[in-house]
């Protein structure tokens, strides 16, 4: 297999609400990535999106994006894999280059979610759940996050304060990320301990408060990948290698898992990516974690093996996951602050890894020259998960 590098990344304008069309939004991110790469000689385009057929009345997005940007003769396909669509599209892009089928691939993810009222968006996300065993009962993803959190609270002593602490850290990082949807400083007092906190931060799925859950966001992200050999010829940037990819699966209905707090798909995906990269967990310098709910930042760090079961919240209390901590997590602000346009998230995580590894992350730059970075893109409620490791050459 050939080695693969990421030579361009882009997120377009600040995430939040985008006034133009879905394709215009994805085009903006794609053009940023093309500019960053310094080439538009792309053989294939993989577009990651989950819900455009349902909420934007548009399908076959890769064809539309290639047409809009005149990327002909590039070929393309759209990848739908729930919230893991972005990581999956990047993994498929990697396979296409590693196998020698394509030399240069663009992976663009995008989701324009703020077109629909909240109950409709919640419902479109909930269509990922099991149709007979979960969906019909009104199971939503926040409710699955809440039920996981309750088991965690009971079993490991995690508290609402622990979740708030993660949200405060992610908002702090988001404030240093010009692309982040949410750019707001929050405090423990403002969201949890004062009288006003009940109004500022209402319970939305007990025990999860509003600030424990990601916002609804429009956004797109794009990366350009090519063979390492070609990257050395054409790229003037510090090369970032795609060193590991893994994907894991689990049962669709959460209640069928023997231990619902153990995210088997996260472990399997992480193990595969680490073996492929020839790295140990201790070699990874920082991570972007799919925190659609802050409890997932804890659960994924543990299931991925970066912390012992039931111990991540203790490390978080000590500040280990802050940008200046021992193991920075979500320097971008993660899904909580950057936002979670579902199809874009997995691609945006890789953009952040690249910026950090190149040393281009500005105010939120992780110190001490990080070399290996990890991302987890979590699909379904953990039944389809992609892990990626990128490394500095």
């Amino acid at each position: 297999m050939r080695e693969v590098a990421i030579i361009g990344v882009g997120l377009g304008s600040r995430w939040g609400r985008f006034d133009g069309s879905l394709i215009e939004m994805m085009a903006e991110a794609s053009l940023d990535a093309i500019t960053d790469a310094g080439t538009d000689e792309i053989d294939a385009v993989f577009v990651a999106n989950m819900g455009a057929g349902r909420i934007n009345n548009q399908t076959a997005l890769a064809s539309a994006l290639i047409d809009y940007l005149n990327l002909f003769p590039a070929v393309g396909a759209s990848i739908e894999n729930g919230p893991a669509s972005g990581g999956t599209a990047a993994r498929i892009g990697y396979m296409a280059i590693a196998s020698g089928i394509h030399d240069c691939v663009m992976v663009t993810g995008g989701e324009k979610m703020r077109v629909a009222p909240a109950p409709v968006v919640t419902d479109f996300i909930a269509t990922m759940s099991h149709p007979e065993a979960e969906y019909i009962y009104g199971i939503t993803f926040p409710s699955l996050g809440a039920m996981l959190a309750r088991i965690y609270f009971n079993k490991y002593g995690v508290t609402s304060e622990d979740l708030a602490r993660i949200a405060i850290k992610n908002h702090k990082n988001g404030l240093m990320n010009p692309h982040a949807h949410i750019q707001q400083k929050i405090t423990m007092e403002g969201i949890l301990t004062s009288r006003e906190a009940k109004l500022n931060n209402p319970m939305i799925a007990d025990p999860l408060h509003l600030y424990d859950v990601c916002p609804v966001t429009d956004g797109a992200a794009s990366i350009i990948m090519c063979s390492l050999e070609k990257a050395k010829e054409i790229s003037g940037k510090r090369l970032i290698k795609f060193t590991g990819t893994g994907q894991g699966m689990d049962t669709m209905a959460v209640h069928e898992r023997e231990d619902p707090t153990f995210l088997k798909a996260v472990k399997d995906a992480s193990d595969q990516a680490l073996v492929m990269a020839g790295l140990k967990r201790k070699d990874i310098n920082f991570a972007e974690i799919h925190n659609a709910f802050e409890i997932l930042e804890i659960a994924e760090l543990e299931s991925a093996g970066f912390y012992e079961r039931g111990k991540a919240h203790l490390a978080i209390r000590k500040g280990e996951t802050e940008i200046n901590g021992r193991f920075p997590v979500n320097p971008s602000g993660g899904l909580k602050a950057r936002g979670h346009p579902v199809g874009a998230t997995g691609v945006a995580q890789l953009c952040e890894l690249v910026w950090q590894l190149r040393g281009e992350a500005g105010e939120r730059q992780i110190p001490n020259n990080p070399k290996h970075a990890y991302a987890i893109n979590f699909g379904g409620f953990g039944n389809n998960v992609v892990a990626t490791i990128l490394s500095k050459t």
Binding site: A133, G138, S143
Partner: protein
């Protein structure tokens, strides 16, 4: 008509009981199953009070939980006084309308205190 009770799917090869239905056994990949009656009483292992129900649920607040029935677990709606709800409580399944999907009523099991 007899009262509706929760149904599981027992693998005819290894005996593993599933809920929901699978086309092949999660344990041995066998394809033949028989329907078995599950206990209609169980223990609450986690729950949430959802303040933002999705479309098709005409309520501002919805109780959802996972109930342990012994060999399998069940996800469903709960009808319990929010102040009385606690982990480990015993619940009993009653068949009733749970939601509208595309304007049509859909029924399922709702769990009441025993």
């Amino acid at each position: 008509m007899a009262e509706k009770v929760p149904i599981g799917y027992e693998c005819l090869n290894c005996g593993k009981i599933h809920y929901p239905k699978h086309g092949r056994c999660l344990q041995c990949k066998h394809q033949d199953f028989k329907n078995v009656t599950l206990p209609s009483e169980g223990t609450l292992i986690t729950y949430t009070i959802l303040k933002a129900p999705p479309t098709g649920i005409d309520r501002s607040s919805l109780l959802l939980g996972i109930i342990d029935l012994g060999e399998v677990r069940y996800t469903g709606q709960l009808e319990v006084e929010p102040n009385d709800i606690r982990l480990g409580m015993k619940l009993k399944a009653v068949w009733k309308k749970v939601r509208e999907i595309n304007g049509k009523p859909v029924s399922g099991f709702v769990w009441f205190p025993l």
